[in-house]
Amino acid sequence: MNLLKITVYALAGLAAIALTLAVGWWRVDGPEAPERTGLRPVDLSAMDFRLSDHEGEEVGPEILIGRPTMVFFGFTYCPDVCPTTLSDISGWLDDLGEEVEGMNVVFITVDPERDTVEAMAEYVSYFHPAIRGWTGPEEEVARAAQGFRARYERVSTDGGDYTMNHTASVFLFDDDGQFTTMIDYHEQREFAVPKIRRALNKETEGAT
């Protein structure tokens, strides 16, 4: 009888410890972890990945250096966020007009399985002509995302399909490839356009 009591107490004690640990994990590393501040992309010169642009040309971070750059992640099977981001960006570029000539604008897919070079080519053709679509082997996409500190995950949906959760921010770099700032998803145009202009003006200052 005593042995049973001891066993029950011991199990209850263990359960309490396990619960405490679980709650701790939840708050520190788990879904309730505080926002990781200071998580910003490394400079383009510190990145290393090989992808293909939508015309089949081999590309990497080094080809972006020398011009101001705008990069964002997404996938073409995305019904809401990605077309919205692409059309927002197209609108910003239209607003900036000739100022954006010579700016790199790159859309990197997080879903290379479905986003082949051909799929990217067709998709970007509907948006501003400055937008380039990059895809490639999954591990290279992962290396790219890591450099930009972008996150993505595959999520199954009803009927055997899948969708991708992903970082929807737009990253801006100056002509030296240094990270300048990011534009959050759905940021108003009156804030977004000046941010792009700042990344562009860095170039003008450097040139004069």
Binding site: T76, P79, D80, P83, F127, G159, H166, T167
Partner: protein
């Protein structure tokens, strides 16, 4: 002038009678600015947007949507967390209080159209039926705009 007004009223009456069944609650729902982006083929899901306004005195609950354009359709909610990661999830039933409106707009709620039966072609339109908890339904004609459209005006 009078003729114009009567003409407008007649058109309005016709529009109302055509889109609203005579059932308490959902009969007072008005849908405005329904639009969608064109699709590339049929493999990718589509999304439609609109404003659903409850002009009546009692709350209404939108329980689902359907269209012959897609095998599966559902209202989804896009959300972006503190780290900037966007995700989508079914929004469930949506209650609209009297006098309130719910906006389905890019980056928020949208009518998610899965398994398209035919491509969504720019310049065309499709019917979408909204089902309400009181048994009422509203059929909305959704205009298909370009892939790069940002709102109901293109």
């Amino acid at each position: 002038m009078k003729t114009v007004v009567y003409g407008l009223m007649a058109a309005l009456m016709f529009a109302l009678s055509a889109t609203m069944p005579a059932i308490a609650g959902s009969e007072d729902v008005v849908v405005e600015d329904a639009w969608a982006r064109a699709s590339i083929g049929v493999n990718r899901p589509g999304a439609a947007y609109m404003t659903i306004r409850n002009t009546g005195d009692e709350a209404v609950t939108l329980t689902g949507i359907r269209t012959d354009l897609a095998i599966m359709s559902d209202i989804h909610q896009t959300s972006t967390n503190a780290e900037g990661v966007s995700s989508m999830a079914p929004a469930g039933e949506i209650e609209i209080a009297p006098g309130d409106a719910v906006s389905l707009e890019p980056g928020g709620l949208h009518a998610m159209l899965m398994r398209l039966q035919r491509p969504m072609a720019e310049g065309e339109s499709f019917s979408l039926t909204l089902d309400f908890s009181d048994g009422g339904e509203i059929v909305v004609e959704v205009s298909i705009l370009g892939i790069a459209a940002r709102g109901p005006d293109g």
